[in-house]
Structures are given as structure tokens and as C-alpha cells.
Symmetry: C2
Subunit: 321 residues, 2 copies
């Protein structure tokens, strides 16, 4: 929730001359995205989103992210469409940062999604997996087994500050996942961060997916497990099986999971719960007190991890085994 870089009207007008974007009538920094600076532009044509990529994003990844949005939108997925410059490039530079203009998606993210919304999210995730086929670029998932291990090494020494005994528990979990992580499941482009704030709805209709800045190549069913974690737990920590049924049915109405994928959901969900636990733990331990950033509670994901660890069968997620 931040705007890190301000831009001057003169610089923005100059930047826009490279695009066929209409006349600029206003621009506002918006409180969305934690990695980049985002502005909502009004023009004499359609509204646009301008993103300035801050240093936390690797510039070498930008062609993958921007190209992916173009590829997915081209295949009919509702996601931000990058506007090309007159020279055909999708990336420009503004205030010393790489910058892109994308179409503005109307819609709102749901602070309290219901089961019917989980069904739509499942469907859209599967549509994204299908639409991602044939995308020419690849990006490895920096936040899979190796990445978790690296993150853990930075936090391990202070983990017991968060909860006594945590150090041993997480070390054992990492060992288990490293030894048992599935290898031969269907893979492709995954979103890897499809939380409620990245899915827009107009009423009950899903109007688009945004924020592809964690997208990468990985197991498709791992993306499903991220959504189970992100959409199907209540605020009190309880797994809502009605939402699980809806999300999985929505997904499988477009792309049925094969039996190996279904059987792997518990371990994949342990992995994705651990992934968000680890990034939150790291931020929790390193964000200075008093900073105006909302620190997300890592324990929320520890509780989810423990839930998945005691799952005996995928039927408990709401899927007929």
C-alpha cells in the first residue's frame, strides 16, 4: 500500500507521447501493490494504470511479467492489457524506473468473499492455466523449496521469538517437504499470488485478475493450493469446506485435476502455507517498529500449515477422493 515514487506532470506527459493513450486529464497515486508505485490515469479515452517498477522487482523479470499479461489477455483472459508504445515496446522508463501502462480493469476486490465467489476464482484460475499454455518465456519459482530454505535461514535464529518451539517445527517441515515434494505433476504458468485483493468482481461476476508479479512456471496444482489457503479459511482460522468445494468445482469445470494432482493437494497446501508463513515471518522480524506498513501475522499461516498437516484425504478439502 504505497507510492514510492512521485512523478511530475511534465515527465508523465513526455512519457505518454510514446503511446497512443489520448490526452491526460488526471493522475493519482493509488494505495495498491507493495512492490511498485501505481497511478490511476484518466485520459480523454479510457482510464489506465501506470506502474513504476521499484528496486524490489528484478528488471530481468519484467519482460516475462508484461509479456505474460499480453499473452493472457490475447487469449481472452480478463487481465490488464499492456499498452504498446509507438515503437512496439511494452516497457518504457519514467523517473529513472522501468514503467508500463496497462488497461484499467473495473471491479472491486472482495473483503468478505462468499462460496459463490470462490467458485468463480477457481474457474478463472483454471482459465489462466489453460491460457498460459504456449507462452514463450519461462521464469522459475524463486519461492519454492530452495527459496523457502534461504528465507528460513534468515529467520531461523529468531523464530522462537514468535512462538516457542517454532524453530524445530519448521525445520522438520522443510525436511519433510524437501523429501516428499511431488515432481511429475502437470506444470505451466501459475499466478502464485491469487489472493482476494488480486481478483476483481462486479457484483457476483468476476471481472478480472491482476498483479502477475509473482507469476512463474511451477506445478499447476500448487496454484490451486495457494487459492485454498487464500480463499477457503475463515478469519477464525477454520477451513470452510463449502468454499473448498466451490473453488475446486469451479477449477475442475475448466481443467479437471488428475488423480496424482488431487492426491498431492495436502502436501502442496502445506508447501504454500509454509511459503506465505516464511515471507510474513521474515517481514515480521525485519520491518522496523513504527513503520506505516501493515505487518501481516505469520501465525495465520502457521495455523493453516498445521491444518494441512493433519489432513488424511482430499475429501476433507471438499473434493470427492
Amino acid at each position: 500500500m504505497a507510492v514510492y515514487t512521485d512523478i511530475s506532470e511534465d515527465d508523465l506527459r513526455e512519457f505518454l507521447t510514446a503511446y497512443d493513450a489520448g490526452e491526460l486529464t488526471s493522475y493519482k497515486g493509488i494505495a495498491e501493490g507493495v512492490e511498485n508505485s501505481n497511478f490511476l490515469l484518466h485520459t480523454t479515452r479510457a482510464p489506465l494504470i501506470l506502474t513504476l517498477y521499484e528496486k524490489r522487482v528484478d528488471r530481468n523479470d519484467l519482460p516475462f511479467f508484461i509479456g505474460l499479461m499480453h499473452h493472457l489477455a490475447d487469449r481472452g483472459l480478463s487481465c490488464p492489457l499492456p499498452l504498446p508504445r509507438h515503437d512496439g515496446q511494452l516497457l518504457g522508463e519514467l523517473s529513472g524506473r522501468p514503467a508500463a501502462l496497462v488497461s484499467f480493469l473495473e471491479g472491486m476486490w472482495l473483503r468478505k468473499p462468499a462460496a459463490r465467489h470462490c467458485r468463480e476464482v477457481g474457474r478463472a484460475l483454471a482459465e489462466m492455466h489453460v491460457a498460459g499454455e504456449g507462452f514463450a518465456l519461462t521464469r522459475r519459482n524463486a519461492l519454492s523449496l530452495d527459496g523457502w530454505q534461504q528465507l528460513w535461514e534468515k529467520s531461523e535464529g529468531r523464530a522462537d521469538e514468535v512462538e516457542a518451539g517454532l524453530q524445530g517445527e519448521i525445520r522438520a517441515e522443510l525436511e519433510f517437504l524437501a523429501a516428499n515434494w511431488p515432481k511429475n505433476l502437470p506444470a505451466g504458468i501459475i499466478h502464485a499470488d491469487l489472493f482476494p485483493d488480486n481478483v476483481f468482481f462486479l457484483g457476483d461476476r468476476l471481472s478480472g485478475l491482476i498483479d502477475f508479479y509473482f507469476a512463474c512456471n511451477d506445478l499447476l496444482a500448487y496454484d490451486v493450493s495457494i487459492c485454498l489457503n487464500a480463499w477457503c479459511f475463515e478469519k477464525d482460522g477454520a477451513y470452510n469446506v463449502t468454499k473448498g468445494v466451490a473453488l475446486l468445482e469451479g477449477y475442475e469445470s475448466v481443467r479437471p485435476l488428475d488423480e496424482a494432482e488431487a492426491a498431492a493437494l495436502p502436501i502442496l497446501s502445506r508447501g504454500s502455507a509454509l511459503r506465505f508463513f516464511l515471507t510474513r515471518l521474515y517481514d515480521w522480524l525485519t520491518t522496523p517498529e513504527g513503520a506505516l506498513v501493515v505487518k501481516k501475522d505469520p501465525l495465520e499461516y502457521l495455523r493453516k500449515l498445521r491444518f494441512h498437516r493433519q489432513i488424511a484425504s482430499v475429501a476433507e478439502y471438499g473434493r470427492a477422493g
Copy 2:
């Protein structure tokens, strides 16, 4: 630059049923305003700004602020127009906070205003002073002599941390201003915070004034002195007399200053420089290190104050004496 309160789509839809605002299609928290939470709404009709008033704003002042915008817009000034609810009220409640919907003004604030823009600002300020006549409510200026003294008492003990000798200099300044502050100049509604980020332009045309949350009743020429401080100094601290000429000519093309007002400009400018120095000094000394708030340098206004102290005649501001 902050959104303090998030709002859920359900709560917002419920809030909007009290208005004739069209169907909501999106809302984004915007990084503007330091006192309140602001959202840019798109609807099936015109875009709107939704403001939630946080606790730094006294609720008793809200009818003055909202009523003033309505009064000014009604008199033809380009400023946000509060949208009335079906019951005729201009204020509602959302997420436990007083909230108002106002029209969205297209336009951009200028990071690098030129003299031609200062002329437009002067003209718009005078138009606001004229349009403010007849407004039924009054609000005393909480940041005039008494308020400065109170602010100073909170910072005085640490002032020498900022610059050696500051404590004696500011104490003497406050005494001088208390003894010599003009009393019988024309008074009325003033904006009291007409900095560049509160003035929108479309190209070189001024498209509107925003942020009336410091507006109050005070000397009209004091508002002119605030604009001299806010618009007519360069980044290096130098007073730009070309901008001063333009701002004063623009103002006087609508509302000529009388001779007593013109003669008072140096002391009024000392006062307004001190006012911004004192609020910045207080924030500087009290904002925790590491907070993601931009601390504005109080010394910028100390330098302006010293400039005004050595002014011998208003001709130095660019006005024929």
C-alpha cells in the same frame, strides 16, 4: 499520503444507496491528503471522491468544510461539489467515520509551477475570497497567533536541536508578531493552505481548488501571504519576483488589495512562514524515525521567515508600492 481506513465493498454499496450516484464499478484508495482517507470511485456516471474523516479532524468542523465547498461551487468556483444524500444531508457515515462524497475534479497539480501558473493561482484565490462572501458559518483560525504560541510551547525545549540559537530567534519573532499583527484589514473566508498540491491544472488552465480542511475566517491578505510563501520561492530558497508579480497581479485583477493590506504583506508573510515552520518543526520533532511519512524540512520555512524579516517595502515582492 495515506489511506488509514479500508472499506468493504458491501459497506460502500450500502453507503451509496443513500445517494443518487449511479452504480459503483471500482474504488481505489488514493495517496492524497494527510489527515483523511480518500478513495477515487468510478461509477456508471461520473467519478467521485469519497473522504472518510479520521480523528485528526474535529467533527464539529465538518459542517463548515462541507458547507463551504457547496457554497463556493454554487457561486461558480471550481472546487469539489459535495453530493447530497436523498435526505438532503451532505455528510454520512462509513466504517464508523463521518464520510462525504464529492465530485471528482480532473486536472493535475504542478510539481514545477511557472509564473503563468502563479498568475492563475492569484486570480483563483481572489475569486475564492469573493465567492466566500455571505457564507453563513464561521470558523476561527486555530493556527494564528494563539495557536502558534501553543505549538511553540510544545517544541521550544528542543528547538536548538534543529539549529543553534533557534529558541531565542523564534521567541523574539512570536513577541514581535503578537505586538504588531494587523487587526483592521478586510477579513473573510480564507483557504489557508493553498499549496501547489491543492491546485489542479489542465495544461496551463487552472481547473480547480481542493482541500478546504484548513479553511477559516481570517484576514484575506494573510491568505495572499501564504501563497507568496507556497508558490514564489525556488527550491534553492530564492524569492522569484517574477512569480510574485504574477501572483499579485492575478489576485488584484479580481480583488485589488487596499493600501493597508499591501503595506502589511511583509508582516503577514512573516506570520505565515512562521505558521508552516512551527507545524513542520513539531512534526519533525515528534514523527518517529522509520515512519513512512515524508518529514518536511522546517528549515525551508525558517529561511523564508528570515527573508520576509528583511523586506523593506512591498515593491520587493513585485508590487508597485
